[in-house]
């Protein structure tokens, strides 16, 4: 009994919790590792949850508020102006359907400010862009003949 009272406790490094009396240092280390693994696992789960939440939130905002492109009906009349416009459009196949100011007033659609998405550099893209707007562009290209309405969808990815 007297030995216990006289012997000073072993010096411990600062900020390190001393192992409990009933447990060996190995068990203590194992517990610490287990707690660390649990902490890391919890953190990973939170990152996954946060990522899914960001994705879902962005999806919701884009779906309900974002631009899906412009679908507008334009009335074009056969006049010298449209003839001139169609002359311009011969330089770039589909650009006449987009560069007209009366149809690109949608929110978020920046086709005017950047390079035209439907004016590809190579002819291979003509076919790709006409996949979507083929039926539309055909109607818009016929707008130079007489007054007709055309629905044009433009968008950026």
């Amino acid at each position: 009994m007297s030995d216990r009272t006289v012997t000073p406790p072993a010096p411990q490094p600062p900020r390190r919790p001393s192992p409990e009396p009933g447990r060996s240092p190995k068990e203590f280390a194992r517990d610490k590792l287990r707690a660390r693994a649990k902490r890391i696992s919890r953190m990973r789960k939170r990152v996954v949850a946060a990522s899914l939440a960001i994705f879902a939130l962005a999806f919701g905002v884009i779906a309900f508020d974002g631009s899906m492109g412009t679908t507008t009906s334009t009335q074009t009349t056969a006049s010298a102006a449209t003839a001139a416009a169609s002359d311009d459009s011969t330089s770039s196949s589909d650009s006449s359907t987009i560069s007209s100011d009366d149809q690109t007033d949608s929110l978020g659609n920046r086709t005017n400010s950047s390079e035209n998405p439907t004016t590809p550099d190579d002819s291979g893209d003509d076919s790709s862009s006409s996949d979507h707007s083929g039926d539309d562009s055909s109607s818009s290209s016929s707008s130079s003949d007489d007054s007709s309405s055309s629905a044009v969808i433009t968008r950026q990815s």
Partner: protein, 193 residues
Amino acid sequence: MTVAVITEHLFWIMSRAAGTAALLLSSVAVCVGLLFGGKLIKGRPDLRHLHEALSLATIVALVVHAVSLLGDSFLSPSLADITIPFVSGYQRWWTSLGIVAGWAMIALGLSYYARDRIGQQRWKRLHRFTALAWIAGIVHSLGEGTDAGTTWFLVATAIAVLPALALLAVRHLGTPAATPPRTPAAKAPAPRA
């Protein structure tokens, strides 16, 4: 917006949402990486795991961002269009920049698991280029992104990107003390016995 419209543009919306998520996650990952890599926060070893988890989440989001475009009926790109720069004619420069940035992010991120083979010091030097890929991704999103003009996107991007940019500036411009001082003795070769 009706369900029909969402269904019609499902893959496109998915791609945009995944791109947004990738941008935000990568920005936070860069932030965390700079915090513990630059010794700005000490005594938090878990930050490395947080950085790793965020980076992996970014890579997944990038893959979803690209692959979901394959299902888009408007663009209908080929696999080469979304994986090889300058193949797609759609917004060629912005798209190519995004592809290069995406591949760089994936390669540099996954190189962490081969750092023993690469060599620690070489890998650390290599890993710094992740910041360049991240910046290229930001430029891609602002240049080509459909939502780049919207307030919500700009606010979210600013909240995530600006702190990371500030930390990057601090790391590369302002903290010479962060690097350990090199003494001439340390450079000298050890004498042979």
